[in-house]
Amino acid sequence: MSLDTSSTRSLVLADRAPGRTRIDRAPRRRWTLERIVPFLMVLPVLAILGVFRIYPLLLGINFSFTGDRELNGVFVGFQNYLTLLEDERFLASARNVLVVLLFVPIEVLVAGLLATFIFLKVPGHRFYRSVYFLPVVLSPIIIGAIFNIVLAANGPLNGVASSIGLPTVDWLGQTLTALPSVLGVHVWATFGMAMVIFLAGLSTLDTQLLEAARIDGANLRQTIVHVIIPGLSQTITFVFVTTTIGMLTGLFGLLYTMTAGGPGTASYLPEFLIWKLNGEARPALASAASVFLLLLVLVIGLIQIRVLRHATKEA
């Protein structure tokens, strides 16, 4: 059965404005300076992306299919990936990613609540805004060094704990506490940025709604649950996903200074493993681990796009 498209075609042609013939449209396709300039202006960015992002990325992916040492440059197929699946550190880092994801809601909740309090102008809100943002400007290495001292077995935190009769813990030297301690510090160090995004989102809230809620006698909890959270749905989604990506790709500095991946493999994450493998003269294997991290972030990124698109439709 053939499909007759002649009627549709005639409708489309009929819809054309009078006089829009092929001859009239031809000059519009000319590459005039006005049409070329925007592309030229975008070109440097594309070139930078291409040279410094896309090309190394492709090189890295290509490299992950080659061997190390005596097999340097030799195509080995998926051997590196199979090797990784048998590597205890890789499996541990994959497991630890799940622990990292558990801390994402904590950071979003902390940042969201504190931003809300500042937005609602609790006493001293200007002071708190600065204080909460301060850790964001510190280097992870400095933060790691500070918390190495704070969390040391004989450090001030354990000093306070023992003074009030609580047991002391080697926070960074025990399997159960090492990664959560690093993640806790990471939350402290980075929630300020999420808070600023929340504040920006809060500033776009309809003040009339807030005023109406106040006049209707809504308490703080009711205001947050029924007015602020629904109004911030897009912001919450954005912060949630960017925080996840930040945690997956931005913990190296803290891990390096605070736990070095240990004890054992307790605080290994993909980024740290990549660095370790490269340091062991196994760059191809490190590339395979990098591709794994890329896929991980890509999945999160796709979720981000999907969730944001969905949230936009709701709005």
Binding site: G173, T259, G262, P263, G264, A281
Partner: protein, 417 residues
């Protein structure tokens, strides 16, 4: 006019290029012009800086027209950066390497200098750390050793004989019990954050645990991790932790320099230190003075022969075949007798040149040097990078009882294939 000018410049350039090489070549027997790019991880102090200057001067005596460019890279990132540079085709002509695992795992990138340095074999010690597959890849500049240092003042405080440190494991155990009972400090300073503690423990005490035959077999690659004595090392490591020998939070204490600071600051009675650029006799002497003591490993099992664990520490390897001859001469300059003599005193490093006499009245240094003739290579540097990393992780897990000795030994045996 322009053509004439270009021609004149070209002629001058050609004359310059063509003229310099033959002149220096004929005057110094094969000297070249150009540049020699060398990577290392920098100089820790003035003494190291001075040593580097001496080495460059020794090299330039033979190659006055070769410019030496030293590129100092951060040690933490050193092998990562070097690996990346090699892959990217931007590797230096020569690079500094730690002997043992770090060099052996990269031997395929280096050009052997076995025949070229054969005449130095008698005067230098520590060659095995720079050999792999029957070839020599560098000359050892300094010796890397794991001597046990102790604090005489703490020994006296604990009622121990400071001039006669323990010689057997039982005596060491008794000494630790006394130190823990009579003082407020730990018996050993330990930094195990990077997992390095167990490699110091293994190599530091090995000669008192393994028979000489077992020791040599280990170095030759015949290692039985599930054998009695290898298991014993793991057991002792775990037991000493349970007995409270170490400072609190050892797994979260960095060895460099936190654990060594604990010893220097009188917070621990003993430490397994180094003979190379850091945590050596001279550095500890600055803090402890006459209280600094040196002791040999202790006898754990019958039939063992105590030996100072020491081998070649660092040396330069050649990465660029085009600069091979220059590279050989650079390596020879790094073991220049005069340069090493000056540095051994100023820098505190025990050099590989056995003809150098250490002119110091610091007793611990003299004691270490006197033990060098009977020294044995370090056991941990014979391991592959993968096994060594596994050992680090298992060392941490053993310390907090998260793995059994049997399991650890099994994993290490499997890692060695």
């Amino acid at each position: 006019m322009t053509t004439v000018a270009v021609g004149a410049v070209a002629a001058l350039a050609l004359t310059g290029c063509g003229g310099a090489a033959p002149t220096t070549g004929s005057s110094s027997g094969g000297a070249e012009s150009g540049e020699l790019v060398i990577w290392n991880w920098g100089n820790s102090d003035e003494a190291a800086e001075s040593f580097q200057t001496d080495v460059i001067a020794a090299f330039n005596e033979k190659h006055p027209d070769v410019e030496v460019e030293i590129v100092a890279q951060p040690f933490d990132q050193y092998y990562t950066l070097l690996g990346s540079a090699i892959e990217a085709g931007t590797a230096p002509d020569l690079a500094l390497f730690n002997g043992g695992t770090q060099l052996a795992s990269r031997a395929d990138m280096l050009f052997p200098v076995t025949e070229e340095l054969a005449d130095l074999e008698e005067t230098l010690a520590g060659w095995p750390a720079f050999q792999a597959g029957g070839e020599t890849y560098s000359a050892p500049m300094f010796l890397q050793g794991f001597p046990i240092y102790y604090n005489k003042a703490i020994f006296e405080q604990a009622g121990l004989d400071a001039e006669n440190p323990p010689t057997t494991w039982d005596e060491l155990t008794t000494a630790c019990e006394s130190i823990l009972a009579e003082t407020d400090v730990s018996c050993f300073a330990l930094g195990n954050k990077e997992g390095l503690g167990i490699e110091f423990f293994l190599s530091g005490f090995a000669s008192g645990v393994f028979t000489p035959e077992e020791y040599d077999a280990w170095i030759d690659g015949e290692r039985d991790w599930e054998g009695e004595h290898a298991r014993q090392v793991l057991e002792l490591w775990q037991q000493t932790s349970e007995d409270g020998w170490y400072n609190a939070g050892a797994n979260s204490t960095a060895m460099f320099n936190d654990s060594f600071d604990l010893f220097s600051g009188g917070q621990a009675a003993m430490v397994i230190g180094l003979t190379s650029g850091i945590a050596h006799w001279k550095q500890f002497d600055e803090f402890l003075g006459e209280d600094l003591g040196f002791m040999m490993p202790v006898t754990v099992n019958d039939g063992t022969t105590l030996a100072l664990p020491a081998e070649g520490g660092i040396g330069y390897g050649i990465l660029n075949e085009d600069k091979f001859d220059l590279g050989v001469d650079w390596i020879r300059a790094t073991v220049d007798h005069d340069a090493l003599s000056a540095y051994s005193l100023a820098g505190g490093q025990i050099t590989s040149d056995t003809t150098i006499e250490l002119d110091t009245d610091i007793q611990s240094a003299q004691d270490i040097v006197s033990e060098l003739p009977g020294s044995k290579p370090l056991l941990h540097t014979a391991l592959s990078g993968e096994t060594l990393d596994l050992l680090h992780r298992l060392g941490q897990e053993l310390l907090i009882n998260e793995v059994t000795v049997d399991d650890a030994a099994g994993q290490l045996a499997a890692s060695e294939g």
